[in-house]
C-alpha cells in the first residue's frame, strides 16, 4: 500500500444554503496515493462537498487543507494550480472545439504563455504534444479532430477525464465519472482511472453510484448521509457496517459481493 501521508483534509467543513445544511461539519482525511470513494444517496451533499474542495463555492465555515496549506478561500481558477483537478457529474466540455483543442486548453492553462497574444498558439508545441499524449492515454487518439459535441457520451466522459489529466494534477476529484455511460463501457473507464491512479502515483477522490465499482476499486470509502459522514472504512468494513446497512444502503443498493473480478483488485 502507498504511504499514509494525509494529502487532503477538511476540518469541520460546513455549507448552508439558507436553512438547508448541505454539508454538515465534515472532517475528512484523504491519504496520498489512494483511491478514496465517497458514496451516499442523492442529496447527501457529495457534489456540494466536491465544490467546496475545488473552490467552486465557499464554505460557511470550516477549512480545507491541501498538503498542509489552507486553500479554503482560494477561487476555483487557483486550486488547479495547486494540483487539484476536478471533473463534473454533468459533462462539462467546450462543445464546439475539437477534442485536441479541449485538452490543449487544459494543458496551456498550466503554462506561462497565456497572455502572449502576439504569437500563434501553434508556436507552443509543448501544449499540443501534451494534448496528443493525453488523448492517447484516454483512448481518443483517432478522434482528436472531431468536435467535442459530436462525440458519443462515453467518449465525452473520457475527454472530460483527459482535460483533468492534461495539467497532471496530484489529486483528481471525479464526480461520477461513469454517469450516463452504457454499462459495458464502465469497466474500461474504471480500469483507466485505476491505472492512472497507480501508475501516476495520484490520489483519486471518487463519487460513484455504482456499488460494484466502488467496492472493488476503493482503498477507503466514506459514506455521507444528509451532509454528514455516516461511516468510513475499507470496503469490507463498510459492507459489514450495520449502521450503513440499516440506515439506508440496504433499501437502496445491493451490497452483495460484486460479480466476477472485472476490475482486477
Amino acid at each position: 500500500m502507498a504511504n499514509s501521508d494525509i494529502i487532503f483534509q477538511t476540518i469541520n467543513l460546513r455549507k448552508e444554503f439558507g436553512a438547508l445544511v448541505a454539508v454538515d461539519n465534515v472532517n475528512l482525511q484523504v491519504r496520498a496515493n489512494t483511491l478514496h470513494a465517497i458514496i451516499g444517496p442523492n442529496g447527501a451533499g457529495k457534489t456540494t462537498f466536491f465544490n467546496l474542495l475545488s473552490g467552486n463555492i465557499e464554505p460557511t465555515s470550516g477549512q480545507v487543507i491541501f498538503k498542509g496549506r489552507d486553500i479554503t478561500h482560494q477561487p476555483v481558477h487557483k486550486t488547479i494550480h495547486f494540483g487539484i483537478g476536478r471533473s463534473f457529474q454533468i459533462t462539462n466540455i467546450f462543445p464546439n472545439l475539437t477534442v485536441l483543442e479541449n485538452i490543449r486548453l487544459a494543458a496551456q492553462a498550466m503554462g506561462r504563455d497565456n497572455l502572449k497574444f502576439w504569437q500563434s498558439a501553434s508556436a507552443f508545441k509543448q501544449y499540443e504534444q501534451r494534448a496528443w499524449q493525453v488523448a492517447e492515454k484516454v483512448g481518443l487518439k483517432d478522434r482528436v479532430y472531431h468536435l467535442a459535441r459530436t462525440l458519443p457520451h462515453g467518449d465525452q466522459r473520457k475527454l472530460e477525464l483527459g482535460m483533468i489529466l492534461a495539467p497532471d494534477p496530484e489529486v483528481l476529484l471525479l464526480d461520477e465519472p461513469t454517469a450516463g455511460m452504457a454499462s459495458e463501457q464502465v469497466p474500461e473507464l474504471i480500469a483507466l482511472i485505476q491505472e492512472i491512479q497507480r501508475a501516476g502515483n495520484k490520489t483519486v477522490l471518487l463519487v460513484e453510484h455504482n456499488m460494484n465499482v466502488v467496492m472493488t476499486v476503493s482503498d477507503t470509502i466514506t459514506v455521507m448521509h444528509q451532509g454528514r459522514v455516516l461511516a468510513e472504512g475499507t470496503p469490507a468494513e463498510i459492507k459489514a457496517n450495520p449502521e450503513v446497512q440499516t440506515a439506508y444502503l440496504g433499501g437502496l443498493y445491493e451490497l452483495e459481493s460484486p460479480t466476477p473480478q472485472t476490475y482486477d483488485k
Binding site: 481558477h77 462539462n92 483543442e101 497565456n114 497574444f117 500563434s120
Partner: protein, 348 residues
C-alpha cells in the same frame, strides 16, 4: 508546408489587390484615366473612394464588435461608446485644443485605454443579459454627456461636433485617395492583428470563454484577465475607427454614441458571419451598399426595406455570409471526397 505562400493566402491577396486597384478601376469604368484618379480628380471614383472609406471605418468598428460578441461571446449593447470616445476625443483635441494629428492619435489611444480600464472594472465580471444591460447603460450615459448643453462648446451638443479642421495632406476633400489608402492600411493592419490575436494563446482562451466560461475557470484561467484583454483591444480599435470617422466626416454626430450605432455593428457582424473576423469587412460592404442603394433609388422609406432584408438574413442565413460559406465548402469537400471514394471503389 507543401502549399506556397501565395496559394495559401490566395483569397486575402486577391482581396488586397482588388482594394488597391479599386479606385482606378472605378475611374476606368467612367473613362477617367488612372492619372486623373491619382491626382484626385473629381468623379465617380472619388465618390466611391468616399463610400469605401466609410466601409473601412464601419468594418473596423464591426471587427472590434466581433471580438467581444463573436469571439469572447459577450453580447454588448453599448459598443458605440468606444467609437464615440475616439470620435469626440479626436474632434475636440483638434478643434478646441489645436493638437496636431500625431498628438491626437496618442490622445485617442490614451482615451481608449482609460475607457477600457474604467468599464473594465465592471464588465469582465458580468455576463449574459447583465452584460448587455450594463453596456447599454454605460453607452446611454455617454450619449447623454455628449448631448448635454453644458458641454455644448466642446461637443456641439445635439447638433454634433462641427468645424474640425483636418490638415490638407489627409483631408478627404483634397487628398481623398491618400485617405483611402490610409484607412485601408489601418483596417488591414488591425485585421491581421485580430487574426493573430484569435489564434494566439490569449485568443484561444477567449473562444473557450465563449464556449463554456465556467469550464475555462475550472481549467485554471482567470477569465477576468482575458475578457479585459479583449475589451482593451476592442476599445482601442473602435476608438481609432472613431478617429478616422472624425477625419473623414465633416460632423461627429451624437448618433455615434447611440444604441442604433451599436446595432449597426451587430447587423454587420450578423450579415458577415459571427466570429469570423473577415465577415466584419464583407458585412460592412453589404450594409453600406444596401443602405446607399436603397436610399438612392427608393428614398427615405428605404430603412423599412433595409430592416426586412436583415430579418430575412437572420432567418435564412443565420451563420452570415462567411460562416455559411465555410460550412458549405466543408460539406462540398466532404461530398466530393465521398464521390471520389465511391468512384475508386467501383473501379476496383
Amino acid at each position: 508546408m507543401t502549399k506556397s505562400f501565395f496559394r495559401q493566402h490566395q483569397a486575402s491577396l486577391l482581396t488586397l489587390l482588388a482594394l488597391v486597384l479599386f479606385p482606378f478601376l472605378v475611374g476606368l469604368f467612367e473613362g477617367a484615366s488612372p492619372a486623373v484618379v491619382w491626382a484626385n480628380g473629381s468623379g465617380t471614383s472619388k465618390f466611391m473612394q468616399g463610400l469605401a472609406i466609410e466601409v473601412f471605418i464601419l468594418a473596423m468598428f464591426a471587427l472590434s464588435y466581433d471580438l467581444i460578441f463573436g469571439i469572447t461571446g459577450l453580447l454588448s449593447f453599448g459598443h458605440s461608446m468606444f467609437f464615440a470616445v475616439g470620435a469626440y476625443a479626436s474632434g475636440i483635441a483638434i478643434k478646441s485644443f489645436g493638437l496636431n494629428l500625431g498628438q491626437t492619435f496618442l490622445l485617442v489611444l490614451a482615451a481608449a485605454f482609460i475607457q477600457a480600464v474604467l468599464v473594465g472594472i465592471v464588465l469582465p465580471r458580468v455576463k449574459g443579459i447583465t452584460f448587455a444591460l450594463v453596456t447599454l447603460g454605460m453607452a446611454s450615459v455617454l450619449h447623454l454627456i455628449v448631448m448635454s448643453t453644458e458641454l455644448g462648446p466642446y461637443t456641439g451638443a445635439d447638433v454634433g461636433l462641427q468645424g474640425v479642421i483636418i490638415p490638407d495632406f489627409i483631408n478627404p476633400a483634397v487628398e481623398r485617395l491618400r485617405l483611402y489608402f490610409v484607412a485601408m492600411t489601418v483596417f488591414i493592419l488591425f485585421y491581421l492583428l485580430y487574426k493573430r490575436f484569435v489564434d494566439s494563446p490569449t485568443g484561444r482562451v477567449c473562444v473557450a470563454i465563449r464556449e463554456n466560461e465556467d469550464r475555462a475557470k475550472m481549467l485554471g484561467y482567470n477569465v477576468f484577465t482575458f475578457k479585459f484583454a479583449a475589451l482593451l483591444l476592442s476599445s482601442i480599435t473602435a476608438a481609432l475607427a472613431g478617429f478616422l470617422h472624425t477625419i473623414y466626416q465633416p460632423i461627429v454626430s451624437p448618433n455615434t454614441a447611440s444604441l442604433a450605432f451599436t446595432v449597426t455593428a451587430l447587423l454587420i457582424v450578423l450579415i458577415g458571419g459571427v466570429g469570423t473576423l473577415s465577415g466584419a469587412f464583407l458585412g460592412a460592404i453589404v450594409f453600406r451598399a444596401l443602405d446607399f442603394g436603397l436610399r438612392r433609388y427608393i428614398g427615405e422609406s428605404a430603412s423599412f426595406i433595409n430592416g426586412a432584408v436583415y430579418v430575412l438574413f437572420v432567418l435564412f442565413i443565420p451563420y452570415g455570409i462567411i460562416g455559411t460559406w465555410r460550412l458549405k465548402s466543408l460539406e462540398l469537400k466532404k461530398g466530393w471526397e465521398d464521390l471520389l471514394k465511391r468512384f475508386q471503389r467501383s473501379m476496383g
